[in-house]
Structures are given as structure tokens and as C-alpha cells.
Point group: C2
Chain length 103, copies 2
Amino acid sequence: MLLVRREIGDVLRELRQGKGHTLRQVAGRASVALGYLSEIERGQKEASSEILYAVAEALDVPISQIMREVSDRLAAVEQIQIPDTVPAEFMVGFDADIQPLRR
Amino acid sequence: MLLVRREIGDVLRELRQGKGHTLRQVAGRASVALGYLSEIERGQKEASSEILYAVAEALDVPISQIMREVSDRLAAVEQIQIPDTVPAEFMVGFDADIQPLRR
């Protein structure tokens, strides 16, 4: 089963590490318990919308960007290409089963 | 505060209505209590990843597509244009504060 919380956890952890922050720093800024944030990052706990908002703020990343990255990863797992700006009629002749690039 | 569950609720309700399904039908297919699904659609309850998965299946919509729509709506509220395929260097001269289209 494709669990959104796992992708959210991966994205939050990678964003945090990419910015060189520790769990303790982000948990402190977001006023979230360190153990709870750790469980969220490992996909073991659901983040409430309020906590997601606070962690996004603490990471200084728009929440839309986090969810966009989550949707991209879900799409990769679902092996679906979600069209961005290319209308369907331009896609005729393309193989709908093309595998998305894995990161 | 920008709450992801509100956007998720709106997206799930619009998808359901767009397909002409009742709350009862989708709740039944997803094995979710009708009242709980109703609260999720109204943004009053967080949907667990398992419930989100079940509702997406019941709606026959990829979960990535639901989260993509959610991220697009969050971006509209945050007034951020998230680049899809246009590299940053091509965006020189564009106003970063351009308002996204509201749907």
C-alpha cells in the first residue's frame, strides 16, 4: 500500500539534511518533540496539518513545495506521468506506459 | 495557517462529486465510516495514509494525482509558482510575484 506519510517523511528528512540541520534544531524551531519528528521522518507517524505547517516553516520551505515533491514521488511509484502543461492531444503517439525516471 | 487537510478535503469532495458519487457510495467502497469521510472532506479530520489510500482507490484516482492537486492549491494560496520543466535561467525577466490563476 502506497503510504503518503512515508513519502512525506523522506521528503522532510532530505530537506532537513540538505540544509544541514539536525533533528534537534528543526524540532526546536517547529516546537515539535524530537522523537515525534523522528518518527514522522521515518514514516511511522502521521504529521498533522499543524505540525506539517510548523516543520515547513522551520525548514523555510513552502508547504506546497513539500507536497509537490511528495506527489512526484508517489507518481514515480505509481509509474504515472502526470501532465504538467502538455495537453493530452499533444501526447498522441507517446507511450502512456513510459517509466518515469527514478531519482 | 495553511492546513493541508483542508485542501485534501476539498480535492476529495470535488473528485467525488465530479464522478457523481455520493458520500455513502465512496465511504462504502473505501470501508470508511460515512461521518468520518464527511469530516475529512470538510477538512475537520486528518485522513491517515491508509484511509487516503482507500478513498483514492474508491474514487479510482491515483493518490499522486490527489496530492498533486493538493500541492497546486497550496501553491496558489502561497502565491508561488513552482517550476515544472522551465529551468530558472529561462525565467529571467519574469516577475516572480506573478499571481497564479485562481480556480
